[in-house]
Symmetry: D2
Subunit: 345 residues, 4 copies
Amino acid sequence: MGFASDNGSGVPAAVLDALARANDGAVPGYGDDALSARVTDRLRAVFEAPQAEVRLVPTGSAANALALAVLTPPWGAVWCHRLAHVEVDECGAPEFFTGGAKLSLLDGAHARIDPETLDRALSRAPRSVHQVQPATLSLTTLTECGTAYSAEHLAALAGVAHRHGLGVHLDGARFANALVATGATPAELSWKAGVDVLCLGGTKNGLMAAEAVILFDPARAAEFDLRRKRGGHLLSKHRYLAAQFDAWLEGDLWLDLAARANRAGARLAQGLGAIDGVELRHPVDGNMLFPRWPAEMAEGLRAGGVRFYGGPDPDAPGHETARLVASWNTTDAEIDAALAICRGH
Amino acid sequence: MGFASDNGSGVPAAVLDALARANDGAVPGYGDDALSARVTDRLRAVFEAPQAEVRLVPTGSAANALALAVLTPPWGAVWCHRLAHVEVDECGAPEFFTGGAKLSLLDGAHARIDPETLDRALSRAPRSVHQVQPATLSLTTLTECGTAYSAEHLAALAGVAHRHGLGVHLDGARFANALVATGATPAELSWKAGVDVLCLGGTKNGLMAAEAVILFDPARAAEFDLRRKRGGHLLSKHRYLAAQFDAWLEGDLWLDLAARANRAGARLAQGLGAIDGVELRHPVDGNMLFPRWPAEMAEGLRAGGVRFYGGPDPDAPGHETARLVASWNTTDAEIDAALAICRGH
Amino acid sequence: MGFASDNGSGVPAAVLDALARANDGAVPGYGDDALSARVTDRLRAVFEAPQAEVRLVPTGSAANALALAVLTPPWGAVWCHRLAHVEVDECGAPEFFTGGAKLSLLDGAHARIDPETLDRALSRAPRSVHQVQPATLSLTTLTECGTAYSAEHLAALAGVAHRHGLGVHLDGARFANALVATGATPAELSWKAGVDVLCLGGTKNGLMAAEAVILFDPARAAEFDLRRKRGGHLLSKHRYLAAQFDAWLEGDLWLDLAARANRAGARLAQGLGAIDGVELRHPVDGNMLFPRWPAEMAEGLRAGGVRFYGGPDPDAPGHETARLVASWNTTDAEIDAALAICRGH
Amino acid sequence: MGFASDNGSGVPAAVLDALARANDGAVPGYGDDALSARVTDRLRAVFEAPQAEVRLVPTGSAANALALAVLTPPWGAVWCHRLAHVEVDECGAPEFFTGGAKLSLLDGAHARIDPETLDRALSRAPRSVHQVQPATLSLTTLTECGTAYSAEHLAALAGVAHRHGLGVHLDGARFANALVATGATPAELSWKAGVDVLCLGGTKNGLMAAEAVILFDPARAAEFDLRRKRGGHLLSKHRYLAAQFDAWLEGDLWLDLAARANRAGARLAQGLGAIDGVELRHPVDGNMLFPRWPAEMAEGLRAGGVRFYGGPDPDAPGHETARLVASWNTTDAEIDAALAICRGH
């Protein structure tokens, strides 16, 4: 039973089938193939953005770092939440790809930033030649605490950012889960809200290793292309990236996978919420849960073969905090088995 | 009929099967899975290098750039052939990943470097604080002209490099083809010849997108790991990289694929060599051919649906130069059809 | 009357004289001259550190950034106070010179860090491959709030840092002022307290443009030299940097200059402390003062030709906050004139 | 007797006087002082370029690297002569400041590039996403072989560069010597010839440590300012940089100093040219000479206390090659003494 991450699960059969179908014949490399063009067309349609440029890369860190690099000069600052994946979990990839930009951190409950907090911070940020220059707002949804931004919240944040001259990047590693959580359309949760560059995650939602960067301003694409190649992220047999996305978009499979993961998350949340001694530290909008629970309960789960990230809560002796993530293929039986272990402690 | 590149071909069924087999179950990410461990064991055995560390990445440019970065400080120089892929075809990835090292270029017939040329260049390279410091020798085999280095040749070059205090990187995008061409063992063509870090290419020899970096000195692995993550090249669902290599190594499939490509190259070379007006500019040791031929012959091939890189020879009016690459799945029929077109001009 | 910064004042006559004396004759460049060697000898003696290597550069930002770069890999984190000059006032120079390291920020009253705060932060910092690796502790004394670290406080911080595997950098732009403030010896306030690399500021204490980087571990010097050249900070006519330091160290001029500045700071603090409505936000250990005062008082000073950095306090309407810095050549008359203006409001 | 470099000589008394005059009073830092503004005005007048922006930095490597960085993206190529100072003598500063651009090298007699050579190279340079993109032409005058470009030659080169979409940087470490050598006006040898950014060297022509970067397109200045600060090259006590330039420009002192150095170079060249066994390898247009001479003659000079760079000619046993540079204060007596030693061998 794996709740360590949605990147621990396999892929649906449709993805394997698509790879097999894409395997025939000699086709041009580096994205100049028909399948890659079709994915671009599909994503333009899904996002109601016929001008957008689409680029595929193998990892979310690459997508984020390249996106930030086209928005942020080396002397720029990327403003983001203190818990943002780009700050915490990418070993400095944004700093590397931007040529040494600075990540300026904001606080906010449940990993969400308030527009007022952002506005005050940007208003007070000095901009003389002695300081890095505010360049980019980087948001995430689902956030690192599993919460979703509403389209209105995103739009308010992007509005503040644009007013202060910043571009807006959205880390959408779990964008599909956020769509399902909010009921917003892809356009509403991206360019209509003011997002300039979206990293649309596939890997955490049923693909092997495929992420799409959607540049709503196509003028940024030429630089992106050179940075992607220079970063070693232009795949020669690009068709296999495209095939994954093609299967994912076909018949809205991506939304179906995300809906399944979110439903599993909700079932788990409901079960845990009813157990004495378990506190869910953040609202569960999608497929991620952050319980604080007795250490022996956590140990019991581990002993029962349940995998998740967690450890002692330094501020609450005898307790642990943990992160559990449901996947598209998490079963009710797995959830119920885990809950049964919890209830037994 | 595609002779544009060996990265234009698909993958053998065994690779697709391996992906499907690897798809079951929730497994740890980022390379901490059993399949990844098995690939490391297999490669250690194949290379007779039980201490070596193995790291998988999705592209050859990533493999090369990361390997160069662990060998070369920002103020270092990478010495390589003027035609080296790292110099010509990676949009400055080595400069990016090293933090601004310099590529110092050497000449040599058929993209091979003479040990004497290297020794003279390194002996004359000033090393005061005003100059970048010679740090790394980067070699390629098969070379960019399709030639192979013998194990002895490699060893002589690496000996010169080590004597001058440089580390040795081998770009083995077509290492399997070089093994087949030379009859050397993997160990003889790498660490026994003095190679410190080998980039073992899978993508051009039947994989989807998978390259292995073999660090014969395991002390370099920790830095490599951080650079790989920071470069966005640590795949979360790492099992799919590993599955490709696992299938590739099983039953020496990789050598079989390379042998097929080399045989196709030889057949094509033999055919072209017998056609008036066609000159092969470099010896054909593996699966790459570099003809100079009449422009109308090139046009005829294009008209017949044969794909390859080429264009007018600025130094020989009425002629073109071209690069043709055979793949593991190039058929005799395709070759003969192409030859027939040539003969018709 | 200039209280904007101690870098707004001129230099003592002894420095001009030393430049004139150094002007004769053709001497080797790039630091290979006798005067540069003498400065090294003098600083080794002053710091009781016969093994230390000394390097001169023209600016404090260069000194800090180069020092941090020899201590911190691109994937490293520099831990420092939120108000540190390296974080706030160098336009990302540390990120640039390190190749994209991250500055991790700590809080602490009056710009000083508590050892417990540091220990807790380093204990909780994750160190997997997904995170930048804690590499360096960067401290400043006088701090950006004008306070001094005692030698014991520095030693406690450096002890924590070393225990966690970090190196220790000390930004000593106002190191001489800190020496005077604490009564500690140069050695006690640097290597005896665990400082690995000290940036000893000359410019803010009576020199034109000269800073010394003292590498207590001489093994770091070779890399420093290459980074300094590569950063454009190796002056060809190095004798003029050395001449400044030579005059500064002669007869303890540097300590005399700092003592004068600190006395001026104390006089100003005493005067302001006796004025109703003026609050000194930080203890005045040296030559820097941070008043919060009525806006009309600040305006009155400006109208009277007194220069300083300051502006509206966003949290206290009708008030301003300001920074005043006394210099080696600030006169009692200037101070008293400024105080008289304040008293008039 | 020092012929090692024109950076081995002292400065004229007028420069020392100017520093002393600039020393009075508290003035704003970072270039916001009246003296810095006056230098800008003077240089605009001298160059007939009222729109140009002027920035001062302490070293020539900083000037060049910052200038190249505002012209060249990280994925760009700087085209320059194989012997260019930016390639050979700056420890990779251009690569560092640009974020990893590539220097693409051109041949040409006496360190000068032919327009035809440049045009052919740029015409053949591939520009797909796999290659760094030609961005900047970097020229030097006096060249590293001591030759001068005529204004027409410069204009032809810049014309080719602009036609191919490149910007033009001129390393003018010895620009004053080039002006004297060619008789061209400052404007003719810079923006009228198509130079976009000029690095105007002061240090090698009588200043302590001061170089001016002249940005003929003022739109580049804002980025330059941030890069300068971030590079640690914005001096706080900027008036001392400005004072040097102010004295240098006063009464055309700079041209007088260069004329003296060039006359010394000519006298030395004439003398050496008349000595059997001495070959001058390059035309002597200014103050630099490159003799090939018998090893015993070189040894005799060294024994006689004459300093210069040189060493065995690996291609001519028994001979050495050397570089001799005359300075503004080289005397006829020094020259004649050196020539007497040569004649004695």
